[in-house]
């Protein structure tokens, strides 16, 4: 395709965007030509989604310039973006499940004569668009009755019914089968031929070769590079995506690796946890790396008995244990510090004391399940001292503490019992630097105490800085295991994007 011939239809220059506590975009540059498919690549958190939300008017940029079809645009809104011909198709579908295909396609832009809706005309026009794209869907079918892949097609048709000249697609192939991806790519090629510009966001790097003309890579909110796809290689792309200089120093401690404490065999829990098997040892920090949606949180939840599982065995100290509900896991010495601490880790409206008490009621209650306040008080003091929790007193709401201190309360409540395995899911997310370091020290202490520490993290520097061994997951499967001395960011990302090929390659 003559990708270099088209004029620029999107020009973003020096774009910046900050949110409280984080600079999401820093002086970012982006170009899109008519008649080309541009891949926008970067790790989770690189800023791809933020950049697209600015382009589509959902967010306002803090600084920089935006030009669409050569015209400068200030104060973009979703409605304005639609008028300019920009359409964004999110990964999470935005359809009204109870409405028909045609009704969804024309939502917000209904055609009418006077006050009466011209439903027949909308149905006809919808059918036209669907036919043009050669999508076999009845415009009067109810969206909620259709498979997700078909719903995605409807989203694309909807974008086109607004005569979008610029289409942004976020992970369009994740829910599709090979045949459907074929269909989708055929449609994309057709759109490209019509002179439209398509921005394609995906982590499935293998698929890019079949559809993409050029590539823009972001990293940590900054623009890294832009180039023709055919002028580069996969390993070059990956190294651009992760090639940051790791400046931070992580407090690593070494201690001898002990015996195997924990083993998981053939764990299966739906699509996100497929045949997961691994072992964890005393005195070792095992890191779980991967992209969002890789199935790591789902794995921890399946192990802990939160989500039902189809099969799998769990062994502690070589003996198989049955975990059907969290209480079983707790009784066997497992602890889980969950990803969303406000929702799953703490009862934010209860006091710190109540939170620490909660999973330990069996320890602190006496006859007739009466709580022994003295014991609880000592437990709280111990936690406060061991983890340096800053709190005015133990009766304030847990929700009033800072992120870092909340995390410490979550850890504190679990470590009041003797645990053999502690699982941390994104433990340092949303926490300031000083508190992060304290959490690292905490994990190191647990490791030195002979407790097996498993920690899930999307921040590669952190995983490389603290873990002794790294397991990488992708789309529900374990795709790699690395000892820390062999691990590099590039290797991790390669394994993290090792999606099962849905294709038989063809031109």
């Amino acid at each position: 395709m003559q990708a270099n011939e088209g004029r620029f239809i999107v020009e973003l220059d020096h774009v910046s965007k900050s949110f409280p506590g984080v600079k999401a975009l820093d002086d970012v540059r982006f170009r899109l030509r008519a008649g080309e498919v541009m891949a926008l690549l970067g790790e989770n958190g690189a800023g791809k989604s933020t950049l697209m939300k600015i382009l589509s008017g959902v967010y306002q940029k803090d600084g920089g310039e935006m030009k669409v079809f050569g015209q400068r645009v200030e104060g973009m809104t979703p409605k304005r973006a639609q008028e300019l011909g920009i359409a964004i198709i999110y990964q999470e579908l935005n359809m009204c499940q109870h409405l028909t295909v045609a009704e969804n396609m024309f939502l917000g832009r209904e055609k009418k004569r006077g006050i009466v809706l011209s439903q027949k005309e909308m149905n006809r026009r919808a059918e036209e668009i669907l036919k043009k794209l050669r999508i076999d869907i009845d415009p009067t079918a109810i969206v909620g009755d259709m498979q997700v892949s078909k719903q995605q097609m409807v989203e694309i048709a909807k974008a086109l019914s607004t005569n979008a000249r610029i289409l942004i697609m976020d992970e369009p192939t994740s829910a599709l089968t090979a045949k459907e991806i074929d269909e989708l790519f055929r449609i994309i090629r057709q759109l490209r031929e019509e002179g439209r510009g398509i921005i394609y966001i995906s982590h499935r790097l293998e698929e890019l070769q079949h559809i993409v003309d050029r590539v823009t890579i972001l990293r940590d909110g900054q623009f890294v590079t832009e180039m023709n796809y055919k002028d580069t290689t996969m390993s070059e792309i990956i190294s651009y995506m992760v090639g940051r200089e790791i400046k931070e120093k992580f407090p690593r401690v070494t201690c001898p690796k002990g015996k195997k404490i924990f083993e998981v065999r053939n764990l299966n829990a739906g699509r996100m946890v497929r045949n997961v098997s691994f072992s964890a040892y005393e005195g070792e920090i095992l890191g779980f790396a991967g992209l969002m949606g890789a199935g790591r949180t789902e794995t921890t939840r399946a192990i802990f008995g939160v989500d039902p599982r189809e099969s799998g065995q769990i062994f502690i100290d070589g003996k198989e244990i049955a975990i059907r509900r969290p209480i079983d896991a707790i009784k066997h010495g497992l602890s889980l510090v969950p990803e969303d601490r406000k929702r799953d880790g703490l009862c934010t409206k209860l006091s710190i004391r109540s939170n620490i008490e909660l999973p330990n009621l069996d320890i602190v209650t006496g006859a007739l399940t009466v709580v022994k306040n003295g014991l609880v008080g000592r437990m709280v003091e111990t936690a406060k001292k061991n983890f340096s929790i800053k709190m005015p007193n133990a009766d304030v709401d847990a929700g009033s503490l800072s992120g870092g201190n909340q995390q410490k309360v979550v850890v504190g409540k679990w470590l009041a019992r003797t645990s053999r395995v502690v699982i941390f899911d994104e433990p340092t997310r949303g926490i300031d630097v000083a508190a992060k370091v304290e959490i690292y020290h905490l994990m190191n202490r647990l490791k030195q105490d002979g407790i097996s520490v498993i920690f899930v993290s999307s921040e590669m520097p952190e995983v490389l800085g603290i873990a002794d061994r790294i397991i990488v997951m992708c789309d529900g499967r374990i795709t790699g295991e690395l000892d820390i001395k062999d691990a590099t960011q590039e290797k991790i990302l390669e394994m993290a994007t090792d999606f099962e090929s849905k294709f038989v390659a063809h031109a």
Binding site: E103, G144, E298
Partner: protein
Amino acid sequence: MENKKNGGIRGLIGQRGVGQVLTVLVGLVVLCAVFSFINPNFFGVRNVGNLLRQIAPYIIVGIGQGYVLITGNIDLSIGSVLGMSCMMSATLMCFGVNPLFAIAITLASSLVVGILNGELVARCKLPPFIATLGTMTICRGLAQLVNNNRNTDSIEKQLGEAAKVFRVFFYQGFIRIGELKIYNTFVIAIAVWLVFNFILSKTRTGRHVYAVGSNREASHLSGVNVARTIIKAYVISAFCACLVGLIQCATTGTGTMDAGTSYEMYGVAVSVIGGISTLGGTGILAAVLVGSSVWAVLDNGLQLAGSPVALRNIIIGVIVIASVLIDVVRRSGKIRLFRRRAA
């Protein structure tokens, strides 16, 4: 083609929820058959006329609550707005105010309540249950306040002839078809139903009502004015409550302070029996017609069969629970689980 095309009846009265309406219709026919077997007077001309007049308030209240339910909310203030409207119009007319003015003022006040409900829910983001519980209590208080905590005298005392016209229009008047008296109340109910059914199934407002109830966020992203749609639903609900309040005033010729008690619940019941889901996004307005019919038929039929009031309430309650249960079970089979975004 993926799914079968929709035409015929579906095209006429809209697509979603037709199934349940037809099912309930069948049930209704069976009920009528059973009751007329128990008491042949059931299908007597006099009883049918009365029956239709009894259904009317439920239909109207059902329309209002139905709209709000389809947007995914609830309106607990309907009964109190009804009472407030009954007392307000009666009190004004007892003071000699022309019925037309009385109606206008009453209507205006009710619409204000509707807007208030809508603003609280849509813009202040209060949970609908709490917001309308609040307005419910306020309006009930106003109903008591309007005439100094007393029920009113007869409206005909001061106004005489004008009041008589009012009563005839809203309650006593009828159209005679052979031996059958079709009371004005029923005619008004049907007229109101026709208007609001048209709006719901054929206009953009109606489409947005369904969209907001089905997926608020998607609607917002598609450019639908979610807040305005929700406010419209609550205003319609308030209008319906007001109308029944006027009918109530015309029924007894006085204003009663506890008029309308529990009517918001009746509104939920008749909507739900007919297939409007409490979760929003689905159900057609014809649901209200069959739902009210089932309710009134049960009430009337059981009464004629000599059953005590308590038993009627129990049976009706059981049917409401059964209807919602069916809805929930049906939906759980259809829920599509999207991939969760997590590490």
